[in-house]
């Protein structure tokens, strides 16, 4: 039972970590453009500053209710509205917000611009917990962005570690070009003979089944101990166990004796004719149509004494 509790605690912990990994905490400020004269246009055909966010997790994250701001004193400057399916960001995907100070244009137009902003801050739905922040650089020039070298990787405390001036703008797409081959091809490159995958996967298969072994060994032992206690309590004394530890030897002896007696027909069993006979029985009365079985019971009146 002790082992079971331990397992449940570990399972709970793992669950918490997994759940956390796919929460709003996984969102990252990923890239921004301050002066947009010849870059990406919004749905209204206008070129404005933009801020890109990236979902660094492998689960969908809903950012509705989170906040974007350019002012550390007012973290709730722009609340990302709920009720918009577009705020559910798919795993490892990007989302672009237009910093045009025109929030009436839709969910992805924030209520500030970057012309005089010192910092961009992304805050959790509680309005207090800062998930990510980055200072705004005004020395970048036109149509030059500042972003993470690799999507989602780097600091979240505003130190700018892992950020760099980008050689090209990449709104709503990866900052670093992914010119890697597909997963299986990479696997064949890394592991041309298949030994690495074989050893890794076999280790995992063994690990899973070894864990199951330990858990069920522990449960089995606990069950045997409980069985012994019950037997002892029922007998009022310690019953000597068989070599297998679960069924008392006396039980085996009783079964063997019973079987032996059963096999000795003349001692334990009378002779059978092995002839099955069906006797026809006439019943003149059948209650199927009797009124007495179809009527409700007559109510009885209890007289007061």
């Amino acid at each position: 039972m002790k082992h079971l509790k331990l397992f449940l605690a570990i399972a709970g912990l793992v669950l918490c970590f997994t759940a956390g990994a796919q929460s709003q905490d996984a969102m990252r400020l990923n890239e921004y453009l301050v002066v947009n004269t010849d870059d990406f246009q919004d749905d209204f055909g206008q070129q404005n500053a933009w801020i890109e966010l990236f979902n660094s997790s492998y689960g969908t994250v809903d950012i509705a209710g989170c906040f974007l701001s350019d002012d550390p004193a007012n973290l709730k400057k722009y609340a990302i509205p709920g009720g918009d399916l577009m705020t559910k960001i798919k795993p490892r995907q990007h989302v672009l917000f237009w910093a045009d100070n025109q929030p009436f244009r839709g969910t992805f137009h924030v209520s500030f611009d970057l012309a005089n902003a010192k910092e961009i801050i992304f805050t959790k739905g509680d309005g207090k917990t800062i998930i990510d922040r980055i200072p705004v650089r005004h020395d970048l020039g036109e149509n030059v962005t500042f972003g993470r070298i690799e999507d989602g990787i780097g600091s979240t405390d505003g130190s700018g570690e892992g950020w760099a001036v980008q050689t090209r703008t990449s709104p709503s797409t990866n900052n670093a070009l992914i010119d890697k081959a597909a997963k299986p091809d990479r696997m064949k490159e890394i592991d041309p003979y298949g030994w690495v995958l074989a050893l890794t996967a076999m280790s995992v298969v063994f690990l899973a089944l070894i864990l199951l072994y330990f858990i069920f060994k522990a449960i089995g032992n606990a069950n045997i101990r409980a069985g012994k206690k019950r037997s002892a309590a029922a007998a009022g004394t310690d019953v000597k166990e068989s070599a297998y530890g679960e069924i008392p030897g006396e039980v085996y002896a009783a079964i063997a004796t019973a079987m032996h007696l059963y096999q000795q027909d003349d001692e334990n069993h009378d002779e059978e004719s092995f002839v099955v006979t069906l006797h026809h029985t006439d019943r003149t009365y059948s209650p199927w149509s009797s009124k007495i079985y179809t009527l409700r019971q007559t109510p009885q009146v209890n007289k007061r004494r």
């Binding site: 397992f7 299986p184 064949k188 298949g194 996967a201 089944l209 199951l212 069920f216 297998y244 069924i247």
Partner: protein, 380 residues
């Protein structure tokens, strides 16, 4: 008269005779061989009859555009084939397997789980051979799973990693599963001494209902947390088993292990068979897959038996495991366990190994599902 002759000519163009190619005849012969093996020798008849007849259905020479072929989008066969292509038949079969499997022998003697793990070497041995024979990594993973001796898992994984090879992989997996009584015994005899074959194992202890109820829950949580990509198979397998063991969902368990699994087996068998159209199937690649499939079963049997021998080095006298149950680590349930029992009886007519062999056999089902999850995670 001329008009009638024109119509007859047009009709002739639609017939199988007009569109005949030798490849179709070869496949029809293979289909008939499957049906023959199933009826004459009763080798996996539940699988080989539907697959065999499916091969006949899929290899009637067709006039393209009739919209009846399994690969013609929107045709009836194509709609039924979606269960294979999109991979929703295999988890349903796993539900049935779970609902009809008794894990008692495994719970009673959990060390048998490790034999089920060892036999999965067949999968990765086949993966390495496939890479050496020039398949890409995803195709190699799909081919490798044949070594798990688990038809639904093979279909599930190949539908995701190498859909073009699925027909050959599925037919190969099911064929070798049917041939387990032919492939495994010589290897078992080769690797064991007479003394080892005579080892008598302790009878398994009785398992309490609570343990049986806990097994699917803990088993699922643990394996799924380790390999989430195996959730469709592991989830359904353990869910089916919980239906059986909970004691309060008897009707659901009966449906899952009876009518549901029968229906899905029919559909999966016929559609997999039908997917082996000569044009898709009769390729050099298919021949290679069949060779690798045979080797994977051999490797799995070697690994299972040798692992038991190795394991015995650490076990006390009286607790030793009969290495003849090592072959049962492949998940061909219950054929592999039956093979262990039959070979054991050849040497000691009173040594019934069936219950002991069922332990590694069902562990093999779990092991192959975990291995499939790993392959999907690495290559999918």
């Amino acid at each position: 008269m001329g008009h009638i002759l024109d119509n007859l000519k047009a009709f002739w163009q639609f017939t199988g005779f007009a569109n005949f190619e030798w490849g179709y005849l070869i496949m029809i012969i293979i289909g008939c061989a499957f049906i023959f093996m199933a009826i004459k020798y009763e080798w996996e008849p539940m699988l080989l009859v539907p697959i065999g007849f499916g091969i006949l259905i899929g290899n009637i020479p067709l006039f393209a555009g009739l919209n009846v072929g399994v690969y013609e989008e929107g045709s009836v066969l194509n709609i039924l084939y979606q269960g294979v292509q999109r991979g929703f038949y295999p988890p349903l079969i796993f539900l049935g397997i779970g609902a009809m499997t008794d894990f008692s022998s495994l719970i009673a003697n959990p060390k048998l789980l490790l034999i089920g793990a060892a036999a999965q070497f067949g999968i990765f041995g086949a993966y390495a051979i496939s890479l050496a024979l020039g398949f890409d990594a995803a195709q190699a993973g799909a081919i490798g799973i044949i070594g798990g001796a688990d038809g639904p898992t093979a279909i599930f994984l190949s539908s995701r990693l190498a859909p073009t090879l699925m027909g050959a992989i599925a037919v190969s997996a099911y064929s070798y599963m049917a041939l387990v009584p032919v492939i495994q015994p010589p290897i078992m005899r080769l690797l064991t001494t007479k003394k080892e074959r005579l080892i008598r194992m302790k009878p398994p202890r009785p398992v309490s209902p609570t343990e049986k109820k806990l097994f699917p829950i803990i088993g699922f949580l643990l394996t799924a947390f380790i390999v989430p990509s195996g959730i469709p198979l592991l989830g359904m397998l353990f869910f089916g088993n919980l239906l059986k063991e909970s004691g309060v969902t008897k009707r659901l368990a009966n449906t899952a292990s009876g009518p549901l699994v029968d229906i899905v087996t029919i559909l999966i068998g016929v559609t997999v068979g039908a997917s082996t159209q000569a044009s898709q199937f009769l390729r050099w690649e298919s021949v290679k897959i069949f060779i690798i499939g045979a080797l994977s079963f051999v490797i799995a049997t070697f690994a299972g038996v040798l692992f038991v021998k190795f394991f015995n080095l650490f076990l006390k006298e009286g607790n030793k495991i009969n290495p003849l149950i090592g072959n049962a680590g492949v998940s061909a349930v219950p054929d592999a366990a039956r093979v262990s029992n039959n070979v054991g009886l050849e040497y000691d007519p009173k040594n019934y190994l069936l219950m002991h062999a069922m332990g590694p056999n069902v562990a093999g089902v779990i092991g192959s599902a975990v291995a499939a999850g790993m392959l999907l995670g690495f290559l999918g």
